[in-house]
Amino acid sequence: MVEHRPWLTFLTHAVLISGMLLLVFPIYVTFVASSHSLDEITSNFSLLPGSHLVENYTRALNVGSKDVGATVGTMMLNSLIMALGITIGKIAISLIAAYAIVYFKFRFRMFFFWMIFITLMLPVEVRILPTYKVAADLNILDSYSGLIFPLIASATATFLFRQFFMTVPDELCEAARIDGSGPIRFFFDILLPMSRTSIAALFVILFIYGWNQYLWPLLITTDESYYTLLIGIKRMLDVGEGQAEWQIIMASTILAMIPPVLVVIFMQKQFVKGMTETEK
């Protein structure tokens, strides 16, 4: 701090605390609602936690909301499989693609590089119908492969690894070659262990990305047993003229936030690194 200004210090903390309250408020209300019964929510909603917390969460996890046909437990498992599938898939194929592009000279190298680059410009949102048609033709609607594979090509991960490999000293590769190790051995014994921090940073970003996917699962899942949790919550809200089961919806919403938020809080260092290095 440059100079001592007590009122300014006070203002600083006041602004920060009100900012935090603004960010927390909707989640607090959701949490409180998830501890009330439906009657308490619809007739006299109080901002203090109620007594139905355990009851609501057990019912959500084991039974689910009416008319959805899948329990929140199942849907969380689907979300987890999709998120981990996307994360691990993206990291794996990007690592080896970046390795080939950096450490090998081969025909069409730059052509492949630009082909990967193009994926950056084509988010699912701009090619909804034809991608759906491809998935339908491949017969992967309503399946885990359908949830995962169309989302695992990633230019950003490939760029990040390429950039990292460029900073690895050439001497390491020379030394490895003199000692007689081939490309596969060099990759597994030297490059992969060195990439640990980049992998961890990407893991955090991609896990959040995968868990939070909404449009693609919405398009390709019609069978309840493949619903992800976010799709399930939307289905619980769509009750038409009936009464939405707010207590279950709110409990599910909290459950949908827990995994990615925990990842951010406990892997904050990797998260910040990932955000600033992938720029997205």
Binding site: Y99, L122, R127, W246
Partner: protein
């Protein structure tokens, strides 16, 4: 930049890029080219026959009032989200930059909403403003203001903007804070010795030095508002009431998936692709100066 030392192998490099390239062709390049191809065709709803119609689909969408309205809605939506998210986060970042004690705690507590999915942000705010159970809507009623975003287009737009901006504050905060911390402290100290007040120091020194970060964030916020907010719209308003929140991405989904207008939806996809490509080019021209790919 190229590596001096490389491996030589006949087929291994092709094997290594194969999975990435296969996925790219099957799920990116093929569907995108299909969208371009379909955008110049007129297909009957059963997909039995298609005729080449040139740019007729584009003429159709650009003379369609609903589509023009959707462009306008998208512009209002993305600018509002960018302005709100950036101003709130700049304020918070400027304050957090001053804090010495407890800086990490503040940072953690401000960045976590980034982990909340746009669709979940939609559910949170939808619940708060729900006309029958939402506590903010109920308080407004007590104060004599009738809130019903399923009937009032302006209210619907405000609600989706709030929900979308709320989640984006943490992303902007992280980059603004990093930008602030990169500003050399002697600049600020010299100005303080010359007697400049904190506010003056902010506007004449900090803010100009922060402009590259701000420019980058404007582009990122627009990309976010255009392409990542589908969940917010789908959960809260479904594009309604009477198209008041029908942003372009939602309209592609609606026309193509629910309306089955293949040619029109494909033409809209092509327009969106042109927008993403321009935004990506702007973004990379800027990043080029900072990072060397």
């Amino acid at each position: 930049m190229e590596k001096r030392v490389v491996f030589k192998h006949k087929f291994l490099p092709y094997l290594l890029v194969a999975p990435q390239i296969a996925i790219t062709i099957v799920f990116f390049i093929w569907p995108a080219s299909q969208a371009v191809y379909q955008s110049v065709l007129q297909e009957d709803p059963f997909g039995l026959s298609a005729t080449f119609v040139g740019l007729a689909n584009f003429v159709d969408i650009f003379t369609d009032e609903i589509y023009l309205h959707s462009i306008y809605v998208t512009a209002v939506f993305s600018l509002s989200v960018a302005v709100i998210a950036m101003s709130v986060s700049l304020l918070l970042a400027a304050m957090a930059d001053r804090v010495i004690k407890g800086a990490t705690a503040y940072k953690t507590l401000i960045i976590w909403p980034y982990a909340v999915a746009p669709a979940v942000a939609g559910v949170l705010w939808y619940f708060l403003f729900n006309p029958t159970v939402g506590i903010i809507a109920l308080y407004m009623k007590v104060l004599g203001y009738e809130w019903n975003h399923s009937l009032n287009g302006g209210q619907a737009m405000s609600l989706v903007v709030i929900a979308a901006a709320w989640r984006e504050i943490s992303y902007n905060f992280l980059f603004f804070l990093a930008g602030l911390q990169a500003i050399p402290k002697p600049f600020i100290e010299a100005a303080a010795i010359d007697g400049a007040s904190p506010l003056k120091r902010f506007w004449t020194i900090t803010f100009p030095l922060l402009s590259p970060t701000a420019f980058f964030l404007i582009v990122m916020n627009i990309v976010y508002a255009f392409f990542d907010t589908f969940g917010v719209i789908h959960v809260i308003t479904d594009g309604g009431p009477s198209n008041a929140t029908n942003i372009m991405v939602y309209k592609v989904y609606h026309d193509g998936f629910l309306g089955l207008d293949l040619g029109g939806s494909a033409a809209q996809s092509v327009v969106l692709m042109i927008i993403v490509i321009s935004l990506t080019v702007i973004q990379f021209r800027y990043i080029e100066r900072k990072v060397n790919y």
